[in-house]
């Protein structure tokens, strides 16, 4: 057993921290409280930040040098994600492109596709969104019905995608579409589709937070070039499933770092309102700390296993359930311990200065739904880890 970071990894963390101290102009918390910002200008703050990270070589770090990476280990990537949260840096706007599509292109794309798309993706010149879910297909994604029909050098895509995060600001969308109506899995193909064309329309959808970070995307004979198919026709499902696996692993230390930061606001709050001495408050606070530490222990274990060359595997479902369910418990407890002040939105008089619990409390409802809901994760654990029988 060895849960220590190596000297090189510690050195990487030190360099990164001093880089962050020198380059991050304002924490995200300050940006969202700046009344001169709106949803669009905040996206520009994020875009500028992505460019800074990219220029410093911190994006796509695990990729080969040829594609902007530095062949960094998963441990270094995890350290990066952890420190970005600790520093309260803005999230890069192209996270779907970099986390999902980038690896898909590296592993399954053509040389030409990598050359065409990766540099602009990293530089935030082209923002990407993910077009998988449909009104009729969410958890049961393979039932999707958006179809793609060959038309000369193109395919024509018709159908509807929904919950497309960052759709309203995106230039391109990666789409799973049906090229064979009969073959449930083998009939799905992975397309790269430009959004700025007559056959595509993105409409914003208002979320429970009042924001419109996602949208719905309508395709009416939209054109996708043949050479913009990732992998072969009919390989879309397999590629999508490996791509969804990349979402895990490197984020493993980021969640506990993020929730540790939120916790300090709760601690500060109960100190200030003089309730830290109360037995019921202490018990609730301690439980939040315990659970967050356990989450970090799970993360270190996953990271150690990944570093030892093991794949994240279905056990990553445990981590997905853990952090997303914890986010709900944490924000509920925060509202309980901090009282109505925690319900104030940032623009309200006397809002808490460091933490927007009102928003976080609502956002926490999303984590157990996207990227495979908690129920789907439990199905995965039962079937693939515990090998429980199907009827």
């Amino acid at each position: 057993m060895d849960l220590a970071f190596t000297t090189e990894q510690e050195a990487f963390r030190r360099d990164l921290k001093s880089w962050l101290a020198a380059n991050l102009a304002r924490p995200w918390n300050d940006e969202i409280r700046n009344p001169s910002h709106d949803e669009n200008s905040l996206v520009e703050v994020r875009r500028a930040w992505q460019r800074q990270l990219n220029d410093a070589g911190y994006l796509g770090m695990g990729w080969p040098a040829e594609w902007g990476g530095r062949g960094a280990s998963v441990v270094e990537q995890a350290i990066l994600e952890e420190e970005l949260w600790r520093a309260d840096a803005p999230q890069v706007p192209n996270f779907l492109g970099i986390d999902l599509l980038g690896p898909a292109l590296i592993h399954h794309g053509s040389e030409e596709q990598r050359r065409r798309f990766i540099p602009k993706m990293l530089a935030a010149d082209e923002i990407w969104c993910q077009g998988f879910s449909e009104p009729g297909s969410g958890s049961d994604l393979a039932s999707l019905s958006t179809r793609a029909e060959p038309d000369g050098e193109h395919f024509r895509i018709t159908g509807q995608k929904v919950w497309t995060t960052f759709g309203p600001w995106s230039d391109w969308i990666f789409v799973l579409a049906r090229t064979d109506a009969e073959d449930r899995y083998g009939g799905i193909t992975f397309f790269l589709v430009p959004i700025d064309q007559p056959g595509v329309e993105v409409r914003s959808i208002r979320q429970i937070t009042g924001e419109s970070e996602f949208g719905e995307t309508f395709f009416d004979g939209a054109l996708a070039r043949r050479e913009h198919i990732v992998g072969k026709i009919g390989e879309g499902w397999r590629i999508a499933m490996t791509v969804l696996g990349y979402e895990r692993g490197v984020q493993t230390m980021a969640y506990p770092a993020r929730f540790e930061g939120y916790l300090s606001d709760v601690i500060e709050g109960v100190r200030r309102n003089g309730t830290l001495g109360r037995a019921d408050v202490r018990e609730k606070l301690a439980r939040l700390i315990v659970e967050n530490q356990v989450m970090r222990s799970n993360g270190l274990r996953t990271l150690a296993n990944l570093a030892a060359g093991e794949s994240p595997g279905p056990e990553s479902s445990i981590e997905k359930i853990f952090w997303s369910e914890y986010a709900k418990r944490q924000s509920e407890t925060a509202l309980d311990l901090l009282g109505p002040q925690a319900q104030l939105t940032t623009e309200a008089r006397h809002a808490r200065p460091d933490m927007d619990w009102a928003r976080e409390f609502l956002w926490a409802r999303a984590g157990t739904i996207y990227s495979g809901s908690s129920e789907i994760q439990r199905n995965i654990i039962a079937k693939r880890v515990l090998r429980m029988p199907t009827k």
Partner: protein, 357 residues
């Protein structure tokens, strides 16, 4: 980085499993529980001594193997709901060791399996009321009434926490009154001890506090590791049973409602594994973080085991409520271990204190 145990330690863990499966499967555990008045298998205790297991909690220079090894062995003991004073003896031997030369004679006999010595500390029956200790040891005379002393009725000696410090009291002919205190865990033995007679103070004031802090950390870690083992085995039993048992013409394991509960049992168990071994590793390599991480491990593993072992009974249906089937052995141990060696309530408080809160 590596989470898996190194070769020596996984060998130790495997050897322990083999030994316990051979000598102390659930049949043997039941025999002890139902028939042995002293509550443990004396021959097995001697074997453990012979194999060096009783030195496990000593510092490495004195024959111990560090906290990760301790956790690995305790993990295995949890898997069999191992009955007997094993952990209690380890803790006493560590305290005797740390108390210094005067206590080393008894330490050696304990580690050799020649004498059974346990700690006698508790005076209250709950963890909420905090009262001053009444036990005293002055001029070589001990006056103490201690509650829930593990295996107190059968110990050859006790190391007693008194106002003056830690005192060794060897079982005399008179002045040693033991009143059995059976608990809901029928496989464990506890007693109230009323002690009045000669004793030897081996560590006073501050040293005694330091010794007990070390012991408390090892106790909490060991209990957490056992709780992990209990959960792990209870889940295995449940998976085996639900795969076999049929209802409505199918194995009950195919019902999604049960699958999701088993998934949650796995989440709790695997998270306990991460927390326990990380805490053990910290005790060996990252002492500044150890206090918090040990408390975290126990505060997680306790409620997790209570829940997992309770689910094991539920998912077994009627047979889960019988003496004959095993889930109750795990459920009972989980519930007592959660209360002892620093209850969840105390560990939660310890977590806050480790953060200066």
């Amino acid at each position: 980085m590596q989470f898996e145990l190194d070769e020596d330690r996984s060998l130790l863990k495997q050897q322990t499993r083999d030994l316990l499966e051979r000598e102390s499967g659930s049949e043997a555990a039941r025999a002890v529980m139902e028939q042995a008045p002293e509550g443990y298998d004396k021959a097995l205790h001697a074997t453990l001594a012979e194999l060096g297991y009783l030195a496990l909690a000593l510092p490495e220079e004195a024959g111990g193997m560090g906290a990760v090894s301790l956790a690995a062995v305790m993990h295995e003991m949890g898997r069999t709901a191992f009955p007997g004073p094993y952990l209690d003896v380890l803790l006493a031997s560590r305290a005797l060791h740390d108390a210094g030369a005067e206590a080393h004679g008894l330490r050696d006999r304990v580690v050799a399996g020649e004498a059974l010595c346990v700690l006698a500390r508790r005076e209250t029956l709950d963890d909420l009321s905090s009262t001053e200790l009444t036990a005293s040891c002055a001029d070589g005379r001990l006056e103490a009434t201690k509650q829930l002393v593990p295996f107190g009725a059968h110990a050859d000696a006790v190391l007693v926490e008194t106002r003056e410090g830690l005192a060794i009291c060897e079982r005399p002919a008179a002045g040693w009154e033991a009143n059995a205190q059976p608990t809901l865990d029928h496989a464990q033995r506890f007693a109230e001890l009323r002690l009045s007679g000669p004793a030897q103070l081996v560590a006073g004031g501050d040293p005694a506090r330091g010794i007990l802090e070390t012991v408390d950390r090892l106790a909490a870690l060991s209990a957490a590791a056992q709780l992990l083992g209990l959960s792990e085995r209870a889940l295995e039993l449940t998976l085996a049973y639900t795969a076999e048992r049929e209802a409505f013409g199918v194995p009950i394991a195919s019902f999604q409602a049960l699958q999701h509960r088993c998934a949650d049992m796995l989440l709790q168990t695997e998270s306990a594994r991460s927390a326990v071994y990380r805490a053990a590793w910290a005790l060996d390599h990252e002492p500044a973080a150890a206090d918090e991480l040990v408390a975290v491990a126990k505060a997680w593993a306790g409620p997790a085991a209570r829940s997992v072992c309770g689910e094991a009974i539920q998912l077994h249906g009627g047979v889960g409520f019988t003496w004959e089937y095993d889930p109750h052995l795990f459920f009972k141990r989980a519930n007592t271990l959660e209360q002892f060696h620093g209850s969840t309530r105390q560990q939660l408080e310890a977590v806050l204190q480790a953060r200066g809160l």
